[in-house]
């Protein structure tokens, strides 16, 4: 019997450390709960919790201006809330920000009835933001690809996290 592919928080955190990420600016969502638990105990990455997702890009912009390397971690629903921050403090200022986005409603094997899933890729296309899909540990190196692209293009890049983490 084939073992089900799983995404573990350690795989993502290893990618963040490999890319010398200093801060994770985030609002918890169900897709990323296990990662939250690991990050809170990690001395190398500073967690910046926010009250609303639109804060994340602005805080990350301030960290970047100040010489740090942050990422954002929010759900796709939060991307919808964050439009003006992404425009003004991401795209307009050439911020090489990687946004890890919980892909609520994503289902590779079926038809998603969740509008959060149906709209997110259209929204990213509309803004000209490229994205990478991460569903299993084998996909985790795509985070490095996203980091390289963000730096090379001086633009935000999204990583859609298409599954809930395994513990």
């Amino acid at each position: 019997m084939q073992q089900e592919a799983v995404l573990h928080p350690a795989s993502i955190i290893a990618e963040l450390k490999k890319n010398k990420v200093t801060h994770v600016v985030w609002l918890p969502d169900s897709e990323t709960n296990f990662m939250y638990q690991q990050l809170t105990n990690d001395p190398d990455v500073d967690l910046v919790p926010v009250c609303r997702e639109g804060e994340t890009m602005a805080i990350a912009a301030g960290l970047w201006v100040g010489g740090k390397k942050p990422v954002c971690l929010i759900q796709n629903t939060g991307i919808f809330e964050s439009g003006d921050s992404m425009r003004g403090l991401g795209l307009d200022v050439n911020n090489p920000l990687v946004m890890l986005v919980g892909y609520r409603g994503w289902d590779r094997h079926g038809v998603s009835r969740d509008s959060a899933a149906r709209f997110i890729e259209h929204i990213l296309h509309a803004w000209g933001i490229t994205y990478y899909l991460v569903e299993t540990d084998d996909d985790a190196p795509r985070i490095s690809l996203a980091m390289e692209e963000a730096e090379r293009t001086s633009k935000p890049v999204a990583v859609l996290v298409g599954t809930e983490f395994g513990s």
Partner: protein, 196 residues
């Protein structure tokens, strides 16, 4: 009593030392805001990019540069757009962040419509209950000029509410004076300073 916008930014510029001033809305007006008085332009961070997100942007900078004072000049309408950031800021508790709210009671740059809760809302009260380390309120120019030294020696985050006389903009946006130091220029220069 109230403090004029230009007096407020002039006093702040005179006492900033090496502090970065992040300014938005009225405090960033070309004609009566920080750009009209600044003698330290290389340390000015005009924030034109995201309405209401000044407090979040300044928090990020304060966390990245903990040894440098960060003075945020926010608007009352601007902060109202992002009230949750008071809790986000107090949770991270940056000791170097000084959050000035220019409370003029109106959306001055859109013609002077009153902000919700004008005259009823206490920004110092909200910041205190959100967990800021200290709060102050000034409505007199001389008291602000003499009191600012002590404020800037408090450990942050500190919120300072300044009662400001509104200066209403009615000129169509396309005919208003534009700042020479844009957000993009400031980001490029400040990023260069901080990353060597």
């Amino acid at each position: 009593m109230a403090i004029s916008n230009v007096d407020a930014v002039r006093i702040l510029d005179e006492q900033r030392h090496e502090g970065i001033i992040c300014s938005t809305m009225t405090a960033n007006s070309v004609n009566h805001g920080l750009p009209s008085v600044s003698k330290n332009e290389s340390l000015d961070f005009p924030m034109g990019g995201a309405m209401g997100k000044g407090s979040s942007l300044a928090l990020g900078l304060a966390l990245a540069q903990p040894d440098r004072k960060i003075l945020l000049l926010d608007g009352d309408g601007s902060l109202l757009m992002n009230l949750g950031s008071l809790v986000t800021v107090s949770n991270k508790a940056p000791e170097n962040l000084y959050h000035f709210v220019f409370e003029n009671g109106v959306y001055a740059i859109t013609g002077g419509q009153p902000v919700p809760g004008s005259g009823k809302t206490s920004f110092t009260g909200m910041a205190r209950e959100a967990g800021y380390a200290a709060v102050y309120e000034f409505d007199d120019t001389e008291e602000f000029a003499t009191g600012l030294h002590d404020v800037l020696h408090q450990k942050g985050p500190v919120l300072i509410c300044l009662k400001i006389t509104p200066v209403i903009e009615n000129t169509p946006v396309q005919f208003r004076d534009r700042p020479t130091r844009t957000t993009q220029i400031a980001i490029k220069e400040l990023h260069g300073i901080f990353t060597g």
